[in-house]
């Protein structure tokens, strides 16, 4: 890192190739096209090849699956926080609801797995939205508070009332037919979710979401219901989480109260902050970095969570733009010192 210099300032200019590839000229040559495609292909192909590379290490294949599940949550968090303006401190709620809904359909009603997961995604997302609905018409910290309470309380409630298998959880869910399915279903849906969300936030609907975040009075003045759009945002984010939770339950063939655990709430937030909020790809990269670290720290028990919290704090205070914004700046621009 270059330090501040006396009487100088840093000037940033877009690289020529960035400027050329901005508009329709991007199809003018292979160089411009590959400039645009390289980062995207790196992520997509990298993730798709990863399971094959990890064949000698089955344990790390499992870790890759967990990375994808956290990535769903992180995408949802980033979308809600930076495009709709709602801070959700309870990602564990989505995982837990998804896991229990799919377990309910699979074990109690005997539906097949390929029907259970979509049902859990849609119904679970709907259920989460319904639970969080009362705090949607309000601005401020209410959403954060209520979303923080739900996972803590629902674990205790299931324990206290002894419903859905109580502390033992629901056992005997169908698994995926083999581990390749597990990995490729999760990876491909995660990539689809990532690029679909990136499209969505630039579509008309995305504009309304940003309006809700930045100037809700104006959105309201345009005759658009803020509560409805916030609910749609929450539905999208919680469906992603529920999909992750449902897959998790089928992979472990078990749904239990540990799926309301704090890890599911804090890692996605940390991944978003580390990777760069508001970029959508950043949180995925954050998960790719943080979740393996978490596995390495598994021996230390709950110290993991404390470590995340510290990483999170460090990034939010000292490097709040995150890795993704930093990386894309370096990729798209060059900097040099000029006299003031």
């Amino acid at each position: 890192m270059a330090r501040e210099r006396e009487g100088m300032r840093k000037e940033r200019l877009d690289r020529g190739i960035k400027v050329r590839s901005d508009g329709v000229y991007s199809i003018s040559s292979w160089r411009e096209m590959s400039f645009l495609l390289a980062p995207r292909l790196l992520l997509i192909l990298g993730l798709l090849i990863m399971p094959l590379v990890l064949v000698p290490a089955p344990y790390w294949q499992k870790v890759l699956i967990i990375v994808c599940i956290y990535a769903f949550l992180a995408l949802g968090f980033d979308f809600l926080a930076h495009f709709v303006g709602l801070v959700s401190l309870g990602g564990a709620l989505y995982i837990g609801v998804g896991a229990y809904v799919t377990a309910f359909f699979n074990v109690y009603l005997g539906l097949p797995i390929w029907l259970c997961i979509p049902l859990a995604t849609i119904l679970g997302g709907g259920l989460c939205t319904l639970l969080l609905w009362p705090c949607l018409p309000l601005r401020g910290v209410y959403f954060a508070i209520v979303s923080l309470m739900f996972p803590l309380l629902s674990a205790r409630l299931i324990e206290a009332l002894d419903v859905f298998g109580g502390t033992d959880g629901i056992m005997g869910l169908d698994g995926f037919s083999n581990s390749w399915w597990e990995m490729y279903v999760l990876i491909s849906f995660m990539l689809i979710a990532l690029f679909a969300l990136r499209r969505l936030v630039n579509a008309d609907m995305g504009l309304i979401f940003r309006g809700v975040k930045d100037n809700d009075q104006a959105v309201k003045a345009s005759g658009i219901s803020i509560t409805f759009y916030k609910a749609v945002g929450v539905f999208i984010a919680s469906s992603l989480g529920c999909f992750g939770g449902a897959c998790l339950a089928h992979i472990y063939m078990w749904a239990g109260i540990s799926q309301f655990a704090l890890d599911f709430s804090i890692i996605p937030i940390a991944a978003t902050v580390v990777g760069g909020g508001g970029t959508l790809a950043g949180p995925v990269i954050g998960c790719l970095i943080l979740v393996p670290i978490s596995e390495l720290l598994r021996d230390f028990g709950t110290l993991r969570i404390a470590v995340y919290a510290l990483i999170l704090m460090g990034f939010i205070v000292f490097k709040s733009e995150g890795l993704m914004s930093f990386g894309s700046r370096k990729y798209n621009q060059f900097e040099h010192w000029v006299e003031i």
Binding site: P134, G140, M149, F150, F300, T302, A306, M313, V317
Partner: protein
């Protein structure tokens, strides 16, 4: 009669827990999600001083109070001040600090029921035909005294009036030469102090566990929302509403349902009267 007595005790407990949170939010509009962690931290520090270093009870308590207040002030001065005004970052950062403290303590060996503070006074007393531990009487008594002290502090001292001015109109307070950041540090320190006081009074009733951190945070937040965020009288009244609601639930529905009361209270409040019992002036600004 049981319900009345225990309802009052429970309400006083809740009011003590919520005081710090509402103080900080009221003055600096900063939701302190580390509130519960500071509560547990105070209990743990005084336990350490008492049992590991053999410091007398009163001194240990005072040191713990001072340390926690310092931690609270430092938290603002070192971390939160840098992200002031960015709502998303404020929430995430204070939550992260709280988690770091709580889970760090859990890793550091704070688990199981082995950590407990002795009650100030042993034995029990019979009030209106109900047997009550002396400690619970102390909780109510000290609760009343503390709320009184806080009232005097806010309405009579210069610092208190400055805090109140900050809460009412930040810009006007700035023009009168009140430093916003220093007031925020003061309010964080005071808020942490009252979390610590609550911890030292309430914790002798049970044992010090990490889960208490989350529980206290939830209850404090519930009380504040029902009372109207940032309103002190509202918070007091809400403590009584929720306190009695909990005791009634336990008496008529069973102890299982007690955990839901706080959540239901928040949701009903948000639906019926989003600005809380006493939060009328904020209605326009927070409700879109």
């Amino acid at each position: 009669m049981d319900i009345l007595i225990y309802g009052i005790i429970n309400s006083a407990t809740l009011a003590l827990m919520a005081m710090g949170f509402t103080l900080v939010y009221g003055v600096s509009r900063l939701p302190n999600f580390a509130h519960g962690a500071l509560y547990v931290l105070a209990g743990y520090i005084s336990w350490l001083l008492l049992n590991e270093l053999g410091v007398p009870y009163l001194l240990a308590g005072l040191i713990a109070l001072a340390l926690v207040a310092a931690v609270g002030g430092a938290m603002y001065q070192l971390i939160l001040v840098r992200i002031r005004g960015m709502a998303i970052s404020e929430i995430i950062a204070s939550y992260a600090i709280g988690l770091a403290i709580l889970e760090g303590l859990r890793w550091g060996g704070l688990k199981g029921g082995t950590f407990s503070l002795d009650p100030f006074v042993e034995g029990s007393v019979i009030i209106l035909g109900v047997a009550v531990d002396w400690q619970r009487v102390v909780v109510v008594g000290l609760g009343v005294v503390l709320v009184g002290l806080l009232w005097v502090f806010v309405n009579q001292t210069r610092l208190g009036l400055a805090l109140k001015g900050m809460a009412q109109d930040e810009r006007a307070a700035l023009t009168l030469g009140i430093d916003s950041d220093r007031m925020a540090v003061a309010s964080m320190a005071l808020g942490s102090l009252s979390a610590a006081v609550a911890a030292l009074i309430i914790l002798p009733l049970g044992s010090i566990v990490v889960e208490a951190g989350y529980h206290v945070l939830i209850m404090a937040v519930a009380v504040c929302i029902v009372g109207g965020l940032g309103s002190w009288t509202g918070a007091l009244l809400a403590a009584f509403v929720i306190g009695f609601a909990q005791i009634l639930t336990v008496a008529y529905l069973g102890a299982h349902y007690q955990v839901v009361v706080a959540l239901m209270a928040i949701i009903v409040t948000l639906i019926l009267r989003p600005s809380g019992i006493f939060g009328r002036q904020k209605e326009l600004e927070e409700r879109v």
